[in-house]
């Protein structure tokens, strides 16, 4: 067959309740990140770069902006005759809205079972990473694992959503797993990315659903760890789990480091929806330091330690420090912003002033007129 026998499944919604302001108007997968991306672009691009040709995106609510972003999947090379991108609506069976990953997978069991691929990779969209999924599947097969969980070794991020901490033996076999616990120092924390054989996944979720065990982490992953055939795949590249506004802010600022940009974008491209904006225009008197600037920006003021998304304008005399300014927002002349996350389509007038703190950036919601 064509392709590499791996089916991708992305949950677009799993952190909707944790990112509060950012997900008021959208689902986790379509949260803007890094000047021109949405969170889902990283999982999706990793899959495409690994040769995956069929990806299902599970949705739950507030997914209009996600649909707008993904379109036909053209930007990821997933607009195809065979396979390609499939948006899986929340009402997969009758009118039962899924409340958990187990239900969501059950609702979409037909989509999975009808796919010709043998293996399934499951990913949330709240993790920034660049992973060769083929290598995970190769290890999965070599180990004869039932489940392979992708993990990272290091200090666990705070507020890691539905986090799993694994203990592995020398073979990489998981001996135990802790859910939602705190750990001091170095540990092996899961990145919410799993590889399974298609048949194994289907029977595991059906079984769990049948017994009304609906917690994916507890009733599938932890239960299988207890049975002894879950292996870990150690991911060593850059990753960031976005589980709060603070984590979102920090993960955004990480992109100022050249070595992190090289890890994320250097060897494999990250694809996103194309907007055909002209290059950024720097006017006379513009001053920019340590910032990431997207196409379509018009800069006439001062910008430092900030990320400007596509189509942002900064008026003369404006001072933008430590900010994330999302697409198509305009910042008026002589306005001062410090530690502010400005959502898209905002119009901030002249001579305004907003300041947050590093530990608590101020957030300005989408479409405000200030």
């Amino acid at each position: 067959m064509r392709g590499n026998k791996i089916l991708g499944i992305i949950f677009s919604h799993t952190q909707d309740d944790k990112l509060r302001e950012l997900t008021d108007v959208r689902t986790t997968g379509s949260v803007p990140y890094g000047g021109r991306y949405r969170l889902i672009d990283f999982a999706l691009s990793s899959m495409v770069n690994s040769g995956i040709e069929k990806v299902g995106v599970i949705t739950k609510s507030n997914y209009q902006s996600l649909l707008d972003h993904l379109g036909s999947g053209k930007s990821w090379g997933l607009s195809r005759k065979n396979s390609g991108l499939f948006i899986l609506p929340p009402f997969g069976r009758g009118n039962v809205l899924h409340e958990s990953k187990v239900e969501a997978l059950c609702n979409n069991a037909k989509f999975i079972s009808h796919s010709l691929e043998d293996y399934v990779v499951l990913s949330d969209s709240d993790v920034i990473y660049s992973l060769d999924v083929q290598k995970v599947v190769d290890q999965h097969i070599a180990k004869g694992a039932d489940i392979t969980a992708v993990y990272k070794e290091g200090a666990a991020p705070e507020q890691l959503g539905a986090s799993l901490m694994f203990n592995f033996n020398e073979e990489g076999n998981a001996e135990s797993v802790l859910i939602d616990s705190q750990c001091q120092g170095t540990c092996n924390y899961g990145l919410h990315i799993y590889v399974m054989h298609k048949e194994f996944l289907l029977s595991a979720v059906k079984e769990a659903y049948g017994h009304n065990r609906l917690n994916f982490s507890r009733d599938i992953i932890a239960a299988e760890v207890a049975k002894g055939n879950v292996y870990g795949y150690k991911y060593t590249g850059y990753s960031a789990v976005i589980g709060s506004m603070k984590q979102y802010f920090d993960a955004s600022m990480d992109l100022m480091k050249p070595e992190i940009r090289a890890e994320l974008f250097g060897s494999n491209p990250v694809y996103t929806k194309i907007r055909d904006e002209m290059p950024a225009v720097y006017g006379l008197g513009s001053e920019v330091e340590n910032s990431l600037i997207a196409d379509g920006c018009q800069i006439n003021g001062y910008v430092e330690n900030s990320i400007l998304f596509r189509g942002v304008t900064v008026g003369a005399g404006a001072v933008v420090r430590n900010c994330i300014v999302m697409q198509d927002t305009s910042i008026g002349e002589n306005t001062k912003l410090n530690y502010v996350v400005v959502d898209k389509d905002n119009s901030i007038g002249a001579e305004r002033e907003f300041a947050g703190e590093e530990s608590y950036p101020v957030y300005i919601r989408k479409g405000s007129l200030i």
Binding site: G34, G35, R36, K74, L255, M256, P258, R261, L264, F265, P269, V270, Y271, T272, I274, D276, E277, M278, P279, A280, V281, Y282, G283, L284, G285, S286, E287, V288, E289, N290, S291, L292, I293, A294, D295, G296, Q298, I307, L308
Partner: protein, 407 residues
Amino acid sequence: MFHKQECVAMLLAGGQGSRLYALTKALAKPAVPYGGKYRIIDFPLSNCVNSGIDTVGVLTQYQPLVLNDYIGNGQPWDLDTINGGVHVLPPYQGQNGADWYKGTANAIYQNISFIERYDPSYVIILSGDHIYKMDYSVMLEYHKEKQADCTIATLEVPLEEANRFGILNCNEDGSIYEFDEKPKVPKSNKASMGIYIFTWEKLRKYLVQDEENADSSNDFGKDVLPSMLNAGERMYAWSFDGYWKDVGTIDSLWEANMDVLDPNVPLDLADKSWRIYSRNPAMPPHYIGNNAKVQNSLVTEGCNVYGELEFAVIFAGVTIAKDAKVNSSIIMPGAVIEEGARVEFAIVGENAVIGKGAVVGCDPQSVENRENWGVTVIGPKVKVGEDAKIAPKAMVEADVEKGAEVQ
């Protein structure tokens, strides 16, 4: 079966662009990078799509590899449609032998069967050499209103420069009575822009006739248009009054790029109602480092800027290292300007490397004899060694050793 199309566009993209020298050594002129993220051909292609013309034949001949690759299936311009779309048309071998495209008219003649598949009422002939935004549908309306057989787009040029253009002499109603190729004493300042709309039936007749004439050079301007006029066909001039620039020379290519930085030049690339589309390299936003200085410049995705930019147009994936200075220059995709290098009034080709401390080009003010000054060009993939010095007006096509001086 093909759907009938009212108007099919034929884009002449076979030009060598020999006056761009090093820049067109390995690629056709329409594929030359322009304006920070575009290639010249993005302009006519985007104009077609924005004007509602979605069947485009692109005639290629000279060094077509980069161009073919760039056009691909036409997806960046929304030209991957079910009917029509973009078609690359190289010369081909037929039953009666094979021929290169002998001239612009011959190129269209050889593709009559392509055009006829769409049974068009009109054909618009475009070239891939110009930077401009034009609504061809307005010109087509004019063509229909005048019941013309041929309509030629014209631009008013300063009378003192009219001797460099093909000038059209017209009656008051816009009908053309005379062609004046590079006239010594121009009677009018209406210059032909090389954009023609023909009623297809008529064009077909004259193309066949022209092909039968062994003395013809098979060129639109020299042969087909004059013979139509002599035969008394209805030919009209349509006036265009926007920005238009032929980027056929190093100086004009440099100027046209600098024009994008000039707010007084009427070429708005940010206009959302007339977007210029291009193939996207999938790179992250550009990064401006600490101590960098960027003024009056255009910077796009994938760039890393640690040095100083002033009046610079920087293409995708370019690196400007610490203490490097770029002034009044164009740095094409993937080029690297290393630490402390200075680039002034220059065009640096794709993936070229300017070594540490090298000096490329200079300000016209700092040259005693202006005759010796010109825009410096570093060819694609050329490596200029550390501390090398490249004189103004130089055209560098081969690597330059460390410390060397090139005149």
